[in-house]
């Protein structure tokens, strides 16, 4: 009994002693930190996604408080409202940026872009891209192993098993840019976010010549330049056999969508323009516009079909 008593007493005395020492040490070595950093950190979304360029929200808060000019800093997750609130709190001028969303610029679905070989190395786009051009004939298109899905901290991007392509959920996407960095093929782009998540964009990044594109993929941009000619706002440029729609200049007039012979220009959450009698082009363009969009149609039979086609013993399998 006595032993027990002494033990408890000794431990208590030691505890009190340590507490006293720690108190004085803490007083002596206290780090003066701006209390506003804590407050700003609380105002930030706390996603720690790294979209601002800092390792986490704490780093961003620190920079926001310490820098006089914060116009170069922007939190893509919190967006303009969050930045305004922070700026008002700190009495500084906030950067203004329009909302953006990640856009996957590849329309090479399993049926439009047949597989010509089978990859059985590590399931990673980065690894596959370092080894060879990919399972399909297109050396620019989506590899489909989902590096973008792995890095997304907001569960906003998923590979649709029916198409083999990643799809972005615009509700969840914060435009942090993690997927843009992760994609070894540079397919994902941050584009202006229109009301109701509407969008018009060229869903292809292939810089191959038209004939090569046609052979590899039925949904690729062949660089014909028809869209460039029809655009009234000078938003479309064709360079290296590839059309690009500048999101800043585009007014969503949709004329280019009907012109595109391969359906490479995607229309999201919008009806295509009515078919003009003189041009036969709109027909093939219209159905291609539908699969892209926020809704995720998960059809199991299609994914089965994809598996079978990939297992077909074609000329060569790539490691």
């Amino acid at each position: 009994m006595e032993v027990l008593l002494y033990t408890i007493l000794t431990l208590c005395v030691l505890g009190v002693l340590a507490a006293v020492i720690l108190y004085f040490v803490a007083q002596k070595f206290r780090v003066e930190e701006d209390p506003r950093i804590d407050q700003v950190e609380k105002m930030l979304p706390g996603a720690n996604c790294g979209g601002c360029g800092f390792a986490g929200c704490r780093g961003m808060a620190d920079a926001l408080v310490k820098n006089d000019d914060i116009s170069a800093l922007f939190c893509p997750v919190g967006g303009g409202d969050c930045m305004k609130a922070v700026a008002a709190f700190l009495g500084k001028a906030a950067a203004e940026k329009e909302p953006q969303t990640a856009t996957v610029r590849c329309g090479g679905t399993c049926e439009k872009r047949p597989r010509i070989n089978e990859y059985n190395g590590a399931r990673s786009c980065a690894v596959a891209a370092s080894l060879y051009s990919g399972e399909t004939g297109c050396s620019f298109g989506c590899l489909g192993f989902g590096d973008c899905v792995t890095v997304c901290a907001f569960d906003a991007i998923h590979v649709n098993p029916a198409t083999g392509l990643p799809e972005v959920d615009p509700e969840k996407c914060t435009a942090c840019g993690a997927c843009v960095k992760a994609c070894p093929k540079g397919i994902i782009e941050l584009r202006k976010k229109w009301p109701k998540d509407r969008a018009v964009y060229v869903s292809c990044v292939s810089r191959d010549k038209g004939a090569v594109v046609m052979k590899a993929c039925k949904a690729g941009c062949i660089g014909c330049g028809k869209c460039e000619k029809v655009c009234a706002f000078g938003a479309i440029t064709v360079e290296n056999n590839l059309a690009y729609i500048d999101p800043q200049k585009c007014k969503l007039c949709r004329k280019c969508v009907n012109e595109c012979p391969t359906g490479a220009i995607k229309l999201v959450n919008m009806e295509p323009l009515p078919k003009e009698p003189k041009t036969p082009a709109p027909k093939p363009a219209a159905p291609a516009a539908k699969p892209a969009g926020s809704e995720t149609p998960a059809s199991a039979p299609a994914s089965e079909a994809a598996k079978v086609s990939s297992a077909a013993p074609e000329a060569a399998k790539a490691e």
Binding site: I116, N117, N120, G121, A122, S124, A126, V127, S130, L131, Y132, S133, G134, G137, S139, D208, P313, A315, A316, K317, A318, E319
Partner: protein
């Protein structure tokens, strides 16, 4: 019997074509010559569409010191200089030539007579090797003149000829040693003169007793040249492994090079090419390529002009077998799977291996069981399981600290893994990324000086 001190595996040798004499592949009608078929800067094209070229004529010049000349392997007309897909489907600048006959450029001695005497100085020899566009023909394609130009302050004391050919299936070096042994040994004496050493070792694994016996007989006439039989162990043909096996010296981790331990290593086929370049003025326009595989009707060793389509070699060996699952440029351990069989044979292509679907397919990966077999197998003393994990986590700093740049990508770790983990895939990605970071850092530091 000597071998390297650490790691390594012994895969089934499968040297199906070792008894087949070298045969000449009929001249290809169209050749495609990539401008980047060596390590370093790509060569710069010196011909344009419509130009007539002769066999052996220079068509692309070295882009920098670390680069190599490229010569036309056939005579005919240049039909295109454009981007074409290589074996991995990646587009590269290539010169396409339509063959018309076989007219050789002047000054090339095509006779079979053996020329032993070499009166040239070391500088002249290196200049000739540089002009001939010779690169390491074992697969790494390191420009040979760079290797032979010993940097000031360093001194070579031994030349090592790599006749190991540890890669399963491949037999092109083996056949070259057997059929061109005399020329090869003259090549050794030329290389010794070029780097100023009086000792040379020809390392050959003892699964090639005929080559060991043949070369041992020839080298008796030469002073300082010795044939070293080595125990069969993959990857003994790796430069650093071979130096360790032959001399017992260990090359420090990068950026150190073999010359830091006084050794220069040269592949056997390269040595034969050096003989041809220096004594016969013949540039590197053809090489022996092994076409092999268990399903291949007629495995062969073919003397092939550069730029011939891989498909033509497969046709010469009886066509693509019905059960073919994978065509590999190189051997099964270090070769690269191909998706485009119309791509050309290049300077570094020592063989084409065709694997059946059953042999080629990888088994499903499971969890790492921490058995450390990969650590025991790594000939560079690395920890592949850890490097692979860190590469997946994108922890580049840790990878650099763990010397990932030492990895020689031999594949021992992956072949020995009981869980079938794709270790090398990740390690290779990590290595590439870390080397990119190091290059960037060097480029950022350079202008300040």
């Amino acid at each position: 019997m000597r071998t390297f001190p650490m790691g390594g595996v012994h895969p089934s040798e499968n040297k199906l074509s070792c008894g087949k004499a070298i045969e000449v592949l009929p001249l290809p009608d169209v050749v495609m010559i990539p401008l980047a078929q060596h390590i370093g800067a790509p060569a710069v094209a010196k011909v344009a569409k419509g130009d007539k070229v002769l066999t052996g004529q220079i068509i692309a010049e070295a882009g920098s010191f670390m680069s190599a000349n490229i010569h036309s392997p056939v005579s005919g007309t240049v039909t295109a200089v454009d981007m074409q897909p290589n074996g991995q489907g990646v587009r590269q600048m290539m010169i396409t030539i339509q063959r018309e006959g076989d007219e050789w450029a002047e000054g090339i001695d095509r006779s079979e007579t053996l020329v032993k005497e070499c009166t040239l100085s070391a500088e002249e020899i290196i200049a000739k090797i540089k002009d001939a566009g010779i690169v390491g023909m074992g697969g790494a394609t390191f420009p040979t003149h760079v290797k032979l130009s010993v940097p000031p302050g360093k001194k070579a004391d031994a030349l090592i000829i790599n006749g190991v050919e540890c890669e399963p299936y491949l037999t092109s070096d083996h056949r070259t040693m057997l059929e061109h042994g005399e020329e090869l040994v003259v090549g050794v004496s030329i290389l010794m003169k070029a780097i100023g050493v009086d000792r040379a070792f020809i390392g050959i694994e003892n699964n090639k007793p005929d080559a060991i016996a043949h070369l041992s007989k020839i080298v008796k006439e030469y002073h300082g040249v010795e044939v070293v039989p080595l125990k069969v162990r993959y990857p003994q043909g790796g430069e650093k492994q071979l130096i360790a096996a032959v001399t017992g010296r260990q090359v420090p981790p990068p950026p150190a090079l073999p010359i830091d331990v006084g050794a220069v290593v040269c592949n056997a086929s390269t040595t034969y090419a050096v003989y041809q370049a220096v004594q016969k003025n013949k540039p590197l326009i053809e090489r022996v390529v092994t076409i092999t595989g268990k399903g291949v009707k007629e495995p062969r060793n073919l003397l092939t002009r550069m730029g011939a389509p891989v498909q033509s070699l497969i046709d010469a060996a009886g066509g693509l077998p019905a059960d073919a699952g994978k065509v590999i440029n190189g051997g099964p351990m270090m070769g690269r799977a191909m998706i485009n069989l119309s791509s050309p044979v290049t300077k570094g292509c020592s063989g084409i291996t065709i694997m059946s679907g059953r042999d080629a397919g990888r088994r499903e990966a499971s969890q790492c069981i921490k058995c450390a077999k990969c650590v025991a197998a790594c000939p560079m003393g690395l920890e592949p399981y850890f490097l692979s994990k860190m590469a997946q986590k994108k922890n580049w700093d840790e990878l650099e600290a763990q010397m990932i740049t030492s990895c020689i990508e031999c594949g021992c770790c992956q072949s020995t893994c009981p869980s079938y983990l794709p270790l090398l895939d990740w390690v290779r990605l990590g290595k590439q990324t870390v080397m990119g970071i190091i290059r960037q850092r060097a480029a950022a530091a350079a202008p300040k000086k």
